[in-house]
Amino acid sequence: MNETWRLIDMRIEDAYTQMAIDEAIAYARKRGETSNTIRLYRWKPSAVSVGYFQSIENEVDVDECRLQGVDLIRRITGGGAVFHDYDGEITYSLVAPDSDPKIPTDIIESYRIICGCIICGLKELGVNSEFKPVNDIIVDGKKISGNAQTRRYGVVLQHGTVLVDCDARKIFSLLKVSGVKISDKAIKSAEERLTNVRKYLSRAVSFEEARTALIKGFEEGLDIRLKPGKLTPYEESLVKEYRKRYKSSEWIFQR
């Protein structure tokens, strides 16, 4: 009998609440006050998130984001800048103790296992993707999913993005792509580095269809059963507290 994890399904919130929820679940899990959790979610309004260590001014066109009504947030996870497009992206997160036998101790291997769930879900949609260490999932050499993990409180929190559709022009109007960063990759244009489910399959894929496939991907990839649930009152209280930090300019512009 495979074990049951909680599913928090397709909650739509702004950037500050979404990041606060992920951290709240991680902290509550450490305290033993909640169960292992998979979340699928969308960001409204659309937002740019930067990695914990990134210099926001150097990665993001802050004025352009404001002009386009795109929120800005700093994650607690490392990694790169992501445009979370309400109309083109599903984000997932996973929270489990780092001692869980399903999660390898080795960080790269744990990315491989968790990204394996996304790869499984994409396959369900007809997209053949592969894991590209450290933290990417690619299709024909192009990125379709970026992932970031932290380990704190004795808990693994990994979240990542699945591109269902994307407006590459919009992404690169918001993000500053460093010339140094792509210098060792034989790529002509930054726009050629990304793909998405609809583009790859050349058909309309609804969020509902993508969501169903991702749920199946997690169930198969981790050999678990997902049971829809809600945040506990304790988690909701943490969300309120953490949200203030995520929204503060001291946090967002710290680096």
């Binding site: 260590f53 210099s55 607690i76 960080i107």
Partner: protein, 96 residues
């Protein structure tokens, strides 16, 4: 001044710093790498701030000896390299 360095096969790491009378000031490290625990970056910046330029390498190596840190996409030598680059690009050191 701020300098970016793409670690071959790894992540981007950048450093911004200044020099005052041979001492390192205002160090800020950034990039899309991973470091666990994440907050060690703040301690690393503090460890480098106020030291003499010639002590940079030993200070960074010592830091990682005494602060258990897991690094992905970047290593101690990359931090040394990029901070050095940023110091040598600092206006006060030009002409040396």
């Amino acid at each position: 001044m701020r300098v970016e360095y793409k670690v071959p096969g790894g992540k981007l790491v950048a450093a911004d710093s200044s020099v005052e009378a041979g001492f390192i000031k205002n160090v800020k490290i950034s990039g899309d790498f991973f470091m666990y625990p994440e907050t060690n970056i703040i301690d690393l910046e503090e460890a480098i701030t106020g030291i003499r330029i010639e002590d940079l390498e030993s200070t960074i190596l010592n830091f990682f000896d005494f602060h258990p840190t897991q690094l992905i996409g970047v290593g101690p030598s990359d931090f040394i390299h990029v901070v050095k680059l940023s110091l040598t690009s600092s206006p006060s050191l030009q002409g040396f």
